[in-house]
Amino acid sequence: MLTDLCKKMFGKSLWLFHTNCGACNGCDIEVIDVLTPYYDVERFGMKLVGSPRHADALVISGSVSRQVAPALRRLYEATPDPKVVIAVGSCAVGGNIWFDTYNVLGGADKVVPVNVYIPGCPPRPEAIVYGAALALGLVPKKVQAQHEQHLPAGFDLDEYLKKWEGIPAVTR
């Protein structure tokens, strides 16, 4: 549904506003790399603009620190609707190695709603192009969660986990 809406709303060109919310510049350099002739994301009509009021999409990189969170919120509100929020890099997606630090909120989705997550530290330029194409609805989603179990035959996991419900994790 989101992709259909995106195709309708952002059919022509998507203007990006890139914000660094405490990134190490790794993701920023990859975002710049995407704009070079080699990857050339301007094929899809994307270009960087200088003001959030001109932008259709916010590109967030960096683990969102507490200092920058209100500013990011204001930035999100300044972007006209409809808008797409793209989180680039492991920091903006899940907080990276600072996910539980005191001064980091651990992901851009704690502050603003995020539409497309592009994990990687930093993501390859191709991965960012893929994420941009996914936001536009040009390519299908490929990644899936992997759930594996190796249990004896006839073992009821849910029944077993129920037995341990009240017991604190330290004594397990």
Binding site: Y39, R124, E126, A127, V143, A145, L161
Partner: protein
């Protein structure tokens, strides 16, 4: 000046088209590329080495009695492949998959559940139908005291109270 411009134009024409036609064509990755990690629950012995070295703590092991539940928070994975380096059973490895962009964060949360059988003597868990089954061992694989296996009869001495016991062991003790 005109000459240099002409030279530049010739160089630019000679270069041809450099732009990759990427999302419509597959992009090959360089050798030794580290992408999204994958794992095999049949090989895992839940030793916790990967969780110990993971810099962003994206691998979390939870021991629930005889079951080890391993959660992979791939949203904060930095693809350092240190888990691959330490894994003694090669149960986890980096793939060449980099197209991990997704609109749903739940796609980046993988889970693995491994059953660990507990030792009849100390109540601690050890790996199940893995390394022990691979080589001929003189350890006790019988069901409990008084029962025979190919190495003899299990001593009828009660197991030492060493670790808190799981419900399976407690039930087994009640039956005895």
């Amino acid at each position: 000046m005109f000459k240099s411009k002409l030279k530049e134009a010739i160089i630019c024409l000679g270069a041809g088209r450099v732009t990759l036609n990427y999302p419509f064509e597959p992009a090959p990755v360089p050798p030794k590329f580290r992408g999204k990690i994958e794992f095999d629950a049949r090989k895992c012995i839940a030793c916790g080495g990967c969780a110990n070295v993971c810099p962003p703590r994206c691998i979390v092991i939870e021991d629930i009695g005889e079951v080890a539940k391993i959660t992979f928070y791939l949203d904060r994975c930095i693809q350092c492949a240190r888990c691959y380096e330490v894994c003694p059973e090669n149960a986890i490895w980096p793939t060449e998959e980099f197209e991990t962009a997704t609109p749903d964060k739940a796609d980046l949360r993988s889970e693995m559940t491994v059953w660990m059988s507990s030792c009849q003597r100390c109540g601690r868990c050890f790996e199940y139908d893995n390394a022990i089954d691979k080589f001929e061992s003189k350890r006790w694989r019988g069901r409990g005291p008084g029962e025979a296996n190919k190495h003899g009869i299990f001593p009828t001495k009660p197991p030492i109270e060493f670790m808190p016991r799981g419900p399976l062991v407690r039930e087994a003790e009640k039956e005895r």
